[in-house]
């Protein structure tokens, strides 16, 4: 299988080898347990240095796709790939009037289009010859003709690399997850409709659902993800319009849904033929353990998985880039809705992100960020155990630790006291769909060091202890 190997120019060789092997593993060409060639052997086969292969294997291990047993070699890990629980939905029946009207009124789709060779009096956009390309370069704009196509192609490969089947799917670039979720709900829900989600869940998602006038059916979380028994009851209780799930590094609990639960969950959802909106939030920041495939990869070839993600959070906060990968018919509607709201996402953001991603720096950043956050999370959990008398500490990682206090305590009171001593955190109730969570709070740890955690947790712990004593 390495015989037809050809290195492309412009992309680091170790990344090409890593991506090739990753695809082979996710397509089960290389099955779990299979031993990879030794680094020496592969370096000869691929015509690259041995260090290049070592680096590629390290990245694969970091991705949770292989593990190295000292003295024995590198083996493919067990990857869950149960395929076939997606279902095929007929979108026009599910779409709102807003979605239909946005598409009907989208002149990009209804008016004749310019074709090469035509004299066009259609556009009134300014003459590109007047644009001061040179000056914009100085203002950091080296690629304003890029028009997003390259980033789209990059993302297609990137998502394929996660094992997501791409046939019949299209990508839409959005201004972050917020917009992705907002326009998807605009397309699929009418006021009063029911949407099922984890409880607690991402507060921005709750806000957007409430703004859409939806009935939010929250299903409680267990340590390995959503409670399937309760989900079954909620599904049975009535017609839901959609399901919204954050299966990896769930916000706020930090829970990663187990591979087994993912498979069972998909079977359950398939029986109800529901659109499933999956938020890939922070799934890149996996800390340890095997590769966990997104639902969109596990579902296989149905069209009901709507997979969203964002680069706004994982790279830096000022960038607004997210994406929706979904059935191409649905994407066509979502595209018209987006066009009616803000035309398109900044080409400059897209160009800069593309430049950065394709340089291979993204992988390096992730490798480094995972290590730093893994250590910080471990430290945070240790320090919480030391100082804060929690009933439960949630999660397997993430940029945060979610604390459940004894029932009789109120986290907002703890916050009020903490603020007096200059410590701030996020009360948990804002993440609950049912007014619950009064005794919970979320400690964000992405921007603090060990000393600050030690000092801050100690203060919080003292306050909690004092309240418990009352």
């Amino acid at each position: 299988m390495f015989a037809e190997w050809r290195l492309k120019k412009g992309v680091p060789a170790y990344l090409q080898i890593k991506d090739y092997l990753k695809e082979m593993i996710l397509r089960s060409v290389l099955a779990p347990g299979v031993k990879l060639p030794s680094t020496r052997e592969l370096s000869r086969l691929a015509g690259v240095s041995r260090n290049t292969v070592i680096l590629a294997y390290q990245y694969l291990e970091d991705d949770g796709l292989v593990e190295t047993v000292r003295g024995q070699g590198t083996f493919v890990t067990k990857i869950t790939t149960g395929r076939g629980d997606g279902v095929t939905l007929h979108w026009p029946e599910l779409l709102t009037d807003y979605a239909a009207l946005a598409t009907e009124l989208d002149i990009e789709k209804t008016e004749p289009r310019w074709k090469k060779g035509m004299i066009s009096f259609k556009s009134i956009a300014p003459d590109p010859e007047l644009f001061e390309a040179e000056e914009f370069k100085k203002a950091f704009l080296r690629r304003f003709a890029l028009e997003g196509k390259k980033l789209l192609n990059y993302l297609r490969n990137y998502l394929k690399g996660k094992g997501v089947p791409m046939a019949g799917k299209d990508l839409l670039i959005t201004n972050g997850f917020t917009e992705a979720f907002d326009i998807t709900l605009t397309a699929l829900t009418r006021p009063g409709a029911r949407v099922i989600c984890e409880n607690p869940t991402h507060n921005t998602a709750i806000k957007i659902m409430r703004l859409h006038g939806l009935e939010i059916a929250g299903v409680r979380m267990e340590e390995d993800g959503i409670d399937l028994k309760e989900l079954e009851r909620v599904l049975a209780a009535g017609d839901a319009a959609a399901v919204f799930l954050v299966p990896s590094y769930h916000n706020p609990t930090g829970v990663v849904m187990s591979p087994e639960k993912r498979i069972t969950l998909l079977k359950l959802l398939a029986a109800h033929r529901l659109p499933v909106i999956e938020d890939g939030f922070n799934e890149e920041l996996r800390y340890s353990g095997s590769h966990v495939a997104p639902l969109a990869a596990l579902a296989g070839h149905g069209n009901n998985l709507i997979y969203t993600g964002s680069f706004s959070k994982i790279l830096f906060p000022g960038l607004r880039i997210g994406w929706i990968l979904a059935d191409q018919e649905l994407i066509s509607y979502l595209e018209s809705i987006k066009r009616s709201r803000n035309i398109h996402t900044s080409f400059l953001d897209q160009a800069v992100l593309y430049e950065y991603l394709q340089s291979g720096r993204f992988e390096r950043y992730l490798k480094n960020a995972r290590r730093v956050y893994r250590e910080r999370h471990k430290t945070a959990v240790e320090l919480v155990k030391k100082y804060i008398p929690a009933k439960k500490i949630w999660g397997q990682g993430g940029l945060h630790v979610f604390i459940e206090l004894p029932e009789e305590l109120n986290a907002r009171q703890v916050l009020a006291e903490s603020l007096k001593r200059n410590v701030i955190f996020m009360p948990g109730d804002i993440f609950y769909t049912d007014g619950g969570g009064h005794n919970t709070f979320r400690l964000g740890i992405s921007r603090v060091n060990r000393d600050q955690m030690e000092e801050g947790f100690k203060i919080i712990g003292e306050i909690v202890n004092r309240m418990k004593a009352k």
Copy 2:
């Protein structure tokens, strides 16, 4: 008045002089007819070279604020400044449930805020120290810490320079005009509400109004702007929620509303106490004649003028930056709605735009673009007259010419025939609020040269002539 003159660093001297004089003229310190100091005298007073002053005077003339009479000197032109027809609205009575809910659910406004000196466990945004600032620089991102503040300050001065009173007002940066209009309607209109606008008008505006389920009350256009008699009837006919107007280089007609009409219009609107959404679309691309103040400048100190504009079209198409200048209470609601849709506008776009604007290149670009478009528009009108048997050619400029054919002709049929001969343009009916305009079309001229116009108009003319003969 030049005694206290101090030059700032980092901004070209001619721009500083121009801006200073512009402010003096718009504040009527320098009244219409007043003679400016000679270039020699001002160069001595301001301590700059004579060429600097000459350049500043040229830009003022370009802005329509002064005129030079050969052999006599440079004089302030007649500027319409009738102030005081704004009204004070009480926003909570006008806002939709969506706007109120978006604000209520905006944790930026409801949760305790981080203050300097606090240990914060509130955020879960990634650690900035992990961001690869150096690598992002290479990816053209030199200023990701800018966070938009500088652009906001620049825009405040820029809009002040147009004579708009800024007291009690705030600015919101949006993803272009489309978003500005969309979120403003989200805040102020419920489905079924009536919005009054020009007929024809900007097709994107019509689309957004229809998506909001609004009743669109279009008022016919005259050669100097909206028909005030008809507007009066429409205003009298029932409660409108808002008025949307494009007073300068109106799309699609190219009409610039006369200063006199602006004053009368504002008086009429004040009597009805309506929010007025003014689109400053392309008003920078003024071709000739006196400075025409936006409605937001003429209205004075009420709070009902909502002034929007965009840099997305006038600089280059990939950038998504627009703005809303309005009463600060209203802006607070709009900000929460925007946050619920896509958090904020790309900081990178904001940073690049700021860099470009403050370098003084924007003024140069406008000067050049105005000249080019003025000539092209003149040529276009000549060629239309030569080739196309129009009933009426609309407009005083713009990136387009709007053609009215004899009543019995259908522009869509002309388009169908033109397409066969590789000529494309925009049928006029999409700009009409009432299904009218079958005999109209818009010729965009921003991206064609004289030869293409000659060839294309000739083909259109032949088709029209053939249809007339039938």
